[in-house]
Amino acid sequence: MRYAVFLIVLFSSVVRSQEVKVSSGWYKVMKVSDIYGAGNDYPEYVESRRKETKLHIKAFPKSKQKDLYGSFSVFVHQEPVNWHASLELSVRRTSKGKGKKGGMHGGDNWHQIHRFSSRFFKLVGKKDGVDLQYRIKGLSVLLPVDTYTTEIVFTVLNL
């Protein structure tokens, strides 16, 4: 019984050791003006603004030491709401955000968002306002007219 209590305490301390906040998502309306002349399809891909989403990552509960030296990994995956198999969504990091110390590794090239979670980038210490940009491929007039939506899930782990 003591072991069980010990494991639960350990587990709860792991899941409590980081926090992520995310600003707005991306809503794109494809218009006739996105097609360059009758006879053409939409462009091969469409990109969002370079600062479409901001990520804020810090230790939780508050810990000065972890905010300075804690090692975090950001994972990303998608959970389709109304999606089409031919659509391919990617994300990339376009800034390092603000933080007192620590580096950031990866995430500055396009990273395809799958249904399974995959590591997007790693960082050391607390970061505010890490900018993210998105890219969608596969939008086409061949798809039925509809609004295609997916949930993008960011997970931060103390790894």
């Binding site: 409590r16 002349g37 939008l139 007039v141 007219v145």
Partner: protein, 179 residues
């Protein structure tokens, strides 16, 4: 007591676990599209009759730049009715004794999708007539060599009514629309 401690710890860890995961939505709204164009777009079709060289022969017909390529882009809702391209004379009248006809060749080019079927030859009038039917979500490709090749030509219907000196400018409109 131990059970209470375990339940408290479990509930605490569940509450905190929400903080390391956040989600946002990415949405892409595709709208209905019906775009139509003709290529080359800056040239008029010229059709003319010339008197026969010898009596008893048929009148000659001169045709210049009488072919155009129909390019379109179409996006429709799932389950929506297909679309047609229709054509009609918008302005002017065909000189007496003549018929203005339009041949629509089968699709050619690099387009994709539900591109429809051509209606081979029609006689143009002030009434709308289909020249391509059953278009779904599709694009033909842009420019000459892509889409449906349209060829205008004249036929003499009645020699008695012909006036070799008559001249007329005719406007033809094409529309991509739902059934």
């Amino acid at each position: 007591m131990r059970r209470i401690i375990i339940i408290l710890l479990l509930s605490g860890s569940c509450l905190f676990a929400q903080r390391n995961e956040k989600d946002i939505n990415a949405s892409f709204e595709l709208q209905e599209i019906a775009l139509l164009d003709m290529k080359p777009s800056n040239t008029n079709v010229t059709l003319a009759l010339v008197a026969p060289k010898d009596s008893g022969e048929k009148a000659g017909i001169i045709m210049a730049n009488n072919s155009k390529w129909l390019n379109f882009t179409s996006a429709i809702r799932k389950g929506a009715s297909a679309r047609n391209v229709t054509v009609k004379i918008d302005g002017g009248n065909i000189p007496k004794g003549l018929l203005l006809k339009l041949n629509t060749a089968p699709f050619q080019g690099r387009g994709k999708g539900v591109l429809g079927n051509n209606v081979h030859v029609i006689t143009l009038s002030h009434r709308s007539q289909s020249i391509v039917q059953n278009i779904g979500g599709a694009y033909t490709g842009n420019g000459v060599g892509n889409g449906y090749k349209l060829t205008y030509f004249l036929e003499i219907q009645n020699y008695n009514d012909l006036d070799i000196n008559a001249s007329e400018t005719i406007s033809v409109s094409l529309t991509l629309s739902d059934f």
